[in-house]
C-alpha cells in the first residue's frame, strides 16, 4: 500500500465498472469488508451487545443492587407457556419454594405450581436513570409477585441478568477507553521513532521489545494493587483504564514506526516535501491517511485484550470495586470450583466476555483483509 491508487483489478460490484475508480479508499475497504460474512456477523452481534449495554437501564428487570431476601442463590427461573394441566397461557413463571434435600441436607429451590405469575412487557417501575442521566419510569420486562431471574440470583439474592446488563456498560466501554490511552502513547512514540530514526528510534524500539516481552498480568496486578481501595468508582475506573492502556501500546507503536519508516522514503512524500509542505501537513495529509486503516485494525484487535485484562483484574478483586459491576466482578463470586459446581449459572457473564472478545477478533480479521489491497479481488 504505497500510494492511494485505485485497485484496477477489483471486480466491479453492482453499480458498474467505473464505480471503483471514483471510490475512496474507505469505500473500497467497506465493499471488501462486506464480503466477509464472519466479520459482518461480528459487527451485528457487537451492535446488539452495545445496544444492551447502553440501554441496560430499561432492559434489565431490576436495579443492579436490588436484593431479594430469601432467594439467595436461586437458580434461573424457567419461563413456561403451559401450566400443569397443559393449558396454553402467555409466558409466565412460578414462584420458588424451598425444600431440604434429605440426601445432601442442602436447601433446594422447587417451583410452586399453584399460582402463575405472567411476564409483562413495558411495566411501570420506580423512577430510575438510563445511563445515569435520563430519568425513566419503566422497564422492558417485569412480573408481579415472583421475581424473574433469567440468569439466576447471586449469593445476596440479586438478579444476575440485570447485573450482567449493567456490568456490560463498564466491561464493554473500558476496552475503548483503554485503547485511547494505548493509541495516544503508541502513535506518538511510534511516530517519533519512525520519523526521527537513529538513536531515538533504537531506544524506543528496545522499550517496545521490553514491553512486549514481559508478562502483563503480574504487572497489571501489582499496579492495580497500588490503587487505594477507598477511591470512588469513577476514579478507580480511570486508574484501571490507564493501567491497561499504559502497558499495551507496544504493538501499535511498532506498526506506526514500521509504516512511517517505509513511507517516508516514498516518492509522493518526497514530492510533497519538495513543494514545501510543512511537517504537520506531511503527517496529517499524507502519512496518516496512508496507514489509518492499519491503525484501525490494530485498535480493533487491541480492544478485546483490554476487555480480557479488565475482566481478569476484576475477577481477582483488583479491578473495578463493588458496588460497581463489571463482568469481572460478577465472575468474582465464582472464584472457586465448589461455587461453580453448586451454581453453574454464575458463569454466564463469562459467556458474554467470550462472545464479545470473539466478535472483536472477527471484525479485526475482516478489517485486516479489507485494508490489505492485495487480498481484494
Amino acid at each position: 500500500m504505497t500510494t492511494p491508487q485505485p485497485a484496477i483489478e477489483l471486480k466491479p460490484e453492482r453499480g458498474g465498472e467505473e464505480r471503483i475508480f471514483y471510490a475512496t479508499q474507505w469505500q473500497l475497504m467497506w465493499w471488501q469488508y462486506r464480503k466477509n460474512r464472519l466479520a459482518f456477523f461480528g459487527m451485528f452481534v457487537l451492535g446488539i451487545l452495545y445496544f444492551m449495554a447502553i440501554f441496560a437501564g430499561v432492559l434489565a428487570p431490576y436495579e443492579s443492587t436490588e436484593r431479594f431476601g430469601g432467594l439467595e442463590m436461586a437458580p434461573p427461573t424457567k419461563i413456561h407457556i403451559r401450566d400443569e394441566e397443559g393449558n396454553l397461557h402467555r409466558p409466565f413463571i412460578y414462584a420458588f419454594d424451598f425444600k431440604v434435600n434429605m440426601d445432601t441436607l442442602r436447601r433446594e429451590f422447587v417451583e410452586n405450581t399453584s399460582e402463575r405469575y405472567p411476564i409483562y412487557f413495558f411495566v411501570a417501575s420506580e423512577p430510575h436513570k438510563l445511563m445515569n442521566v435520563i430519568p425513566v419510569k419503566w422497564r422492558l420486562l417485569g412480573t408481579e409477585g415472583a421475581p424473574l431471574f433469567l440468569f439466576g440470583a447471586d449469593h445476596l439474592g440479586r438478579d444476575l441478568f440485570s447485573r450482567t446488563l449493567y456490568g456490560s456498560s463498564i466491561s464493554m466501554f473500558i476496552g475503548f477507553a483503554a485503547v485511547i490511552v494505548t493509541f495516544l502513547i503508541g502513535i506518538s512514540l511510534g511516530g517519533i521513532a519512525g520519523y526521527l530514526g537513529g538513536l531515538i528510534d533504537e531506544v524506543i524500539m528496545r522499550v517496545i521489545d521490553f514491553m512486549t516481552s514481559i508478562p502483563n498480568i503480574p504487572l497489571w496486578m501489582s499496579l492495580a494493587a497500588a490503587i487505594p481501595r477507598d477511591w470512588p468508582v469513577i476514579r478507580t475506573y480511570f486508574a484501571i483504564t490507564l493501567i491497561l492502556g499504559v502497558i499495551s501500546w507496544g504493538g501499535l507503536a511498532r506498526v506506526v514506526r514500521g509504516k512511517l519508516l517505509s513511507l517516508r522514503e516514498d516518492d509522493f512524500i518526497m514530492a510533497a516535501r519538495l513543494y514545501g509542505a510543512s511537517v504537520s501537513r506531511l503527517i496529517a495529509r499524507y502519512l496518516l491517511p496512508n496507514f489509518m486503516s492499519y491503525l484501525l485494525v490494530n485498535i480493533t484487535l487491541a480492544i478485546p485484550g483490554n476487555i480480557l485484562g479488565e475482566t481478569s483484574l476484576s475477577f481477582l478483586g483488583l479491578g473495578i470495586q463493588p458496588p460497581a459491576v463489571s463482568w469481572g466482578t460478577l465472575l468474582q463470586d465464582s472464584q472457586n470450583l465448589t461455587v461453580v459446581a453448586q451454581r453453574p449459572w454464575q458463569l454466564i457473564p463469562g459467556g458474554f466476555v467470550i462472545v464479545t472478545v470473539l466478535m472483536f477478533n472477527f471484525i479485526g480479521d475482516g478489517l485486516r483483509d479489507a485494508a490489505d489491497p492485495y487480498t481484494r479481488g
Binding site: 496486578m221 497500588a226 475482566t311 458463569l347 463469562g350 466476555v353
Partner: protein, 329 residues
C-alpha cells in the same frame, strides 16, 4: 554464532535494568510509606513495636535516605538473592518463593511442551485438510481458546470434569501430601493432578500457535517445489514431512517470545483459581494486602525469567536458521 550470542546478551542488560526500575516503582507506588502502614496494621492487631525496632527496620530499608539509595539497597538484596523481606509472611521473599518458583517454572515449561504437542499436529491436520469440516472445527476451537480468559477455562473445564468424573481438582497435591516430604507417592499424586492446569495454561498459547503454523504451512504447500516433489512421485506423507513441515517449524521457536509471557500470565491466574502451589496465589495475596516488596520482586523474577527464556529461544532459532544468525551479526 558467538557474536550473535554476545550481541543478544548485551541487549539483555538494559532490558533487565529497565525491569528492575519498573519493579522498584511498583514497590514505591502505594501512597504513604509502607513501613508505617505496616506498623499501623500490626498495632491495630495488638502487636507492640518499640522505637528501636522501628528504627532498625527503617535503616534496613533505607527509608530515611533518598530514592536512588533505596533502589540500590533493594538491588543489593536482589543480588544477594534474598529480594528483601515480605511483611506478610515474615520471611525473606526468597524463602517465600523457594518451593513455589521451581514449581512455577516446571508448570510453565510443561505447558510449553503441551502447547507444541497440541498445536503442531492440529496445525498440520488443519493445513493439509484446508477448508474441510476438520479445519473449520479446529479453527472454531482455536478462536474460542483465544477469546476465553484462562480463569474462565479453568472454571468451566474444572466444572465439566467434576460433572463427568466427580473429581474436583484443587491444588497440585491431595491434602495429605501438601506438606509431606518428596516421595514416590507424592510424585504420583502430583502427576495425577498436574495435567489439568498444564493443559488449561497451554490452551491460550495453542490457539495462537495453530493460527501461525497453519498459515505458514499453507503458504509452503502452495509453492512450486511441493508440486515438483509430488510430480516426482513422492507419497503425500513423505513429501509433507520432508519439506514443508520442516520449514513451517520455524514459528515454533520464533513464537516463544510471545507464547512465554502468555504462559506466565495464564499460570498466575490459573494458579489462583485452582489454588496451586505456585507463585500465582502468593502474588495475589501480596497485591491484595499491598505487600509491595513481595509483589515487586515477583514481577521482577517472572519477567526476568521470561526475558531469559526468550533469549534462549532466540539462540535456538539462530542455531536452527542460518538466515537469522548471519542477518543479525
Amino acid at each position: 554464532m558467538l557474536t550473535f550470542i554476545i550481541r543478544r546478551l548485551v541487549l539483555m542488560v538494559p532490558m533487565l535494568i529497565m525491569l528492575s526500575i519498573i519493579s522498584f516503582t511498583i514497590i514505591q507506588l502505594p501512597p504513604g510509606d509502607y513501613l508505617s502502614t505496616y506498623i499501623q496494621r500490626l498495632e491495630a492487631m495488638g502487636q507492640r513495636f518499640n522505637e528501636a525496632e522501628v528504627l532498625a527496620l527503617k535503616r534496613q530499608y533505607g527509608l530515611d535516605q533518598p530514592m536512588y539509595v533505596q533502589y540500590l539497597k533493594w538491588m543489593q538484596t536482589v543480588f544477594n538473592g534474598t529480594f528483601g523481606r515480605s511483611f506478610l509472611w515474615q520471611m525473606t521473599v526468597a524463602e517465600v518463593l523457594s518451593t513455589r518458583l521451581p514449581m512455577t517454572i516446571i508448570l510453565s515449561f510443561a505447558s510449553l511442551i503441551v502447547v507444541w504437542a497440541m498445536a503442531i499436529p492440529i496445525a498440520i491436520i488443519s493445513a493439509t485438510r484446508h477448508n474441510t469440516l476438520v479445519d473449520y472445527f479446529f479453527t472454531f476451537i482455536g478462536f474460542i481458546g483465544l477469546a476465553s480468559p484462562s480463569f474462565l477455562l479453568a472454571l468451566v473445564l474444572g466444572w465439566l470434569l467434576y460433572q463427568v468424573s466427580g473429581t474436583m481438582i484443587t491444588g497440585l497435591y491431595s491434602q495429605e501430601y501438601v506438606n509431606a516430604p518428596w516421595s514416590v507417592a507424592k510424585f504420583l499424586n502430583l502427576m495425577s493432578n498436574v495435567w489439568f492446569p498444564v493443559i488449561i495454561i497451554g490452551i491460550g498459547g495453542t490457539a495462537g500457535l495453530i493460527r501461525t503454523l497453519r498459515a505458514t504451512l499453507l503458504d509452503e504447500l502452495g509453492k512450486p517445489y511441493v508440486t515438483t516433489a509430488r510430480a516426482k512421485g513422492l507419497s503425500e506423507t513423505q513429501l509433507l514431512v520432508k519439506y514443508p513441515i520442516r520449514i513451517a517449524m520455524n514459528p515454533v521457536f520464533s513464537t516463544i517470545g510471545w507464547i512465554l509471557p502468555g504462559l506466565i500470565n495464564g499460570g498466575v491466574i490459573v494458579g489462583i483459581v485452582l489454588n496451586l502451589q505456585t507463585i500465582g496465589p502468593v502474588l495475589m495475596r501480596a497485591t491484595l494486602s499491598q505487600d509491595m516488596y513481595l509483589a515487586g520482586s515477583i514481577v521482577l523474577i517472572l519477567s526476568a525469567l521470561t526475558i531469559v527464556g526468550t533469549f534462549i529461544s532466540d539462540i535456538l532459532l539462530a542455531w536452527l536458521d542460518p538466515r537469522i544468525r548471519y542477518g543479525a551479526s
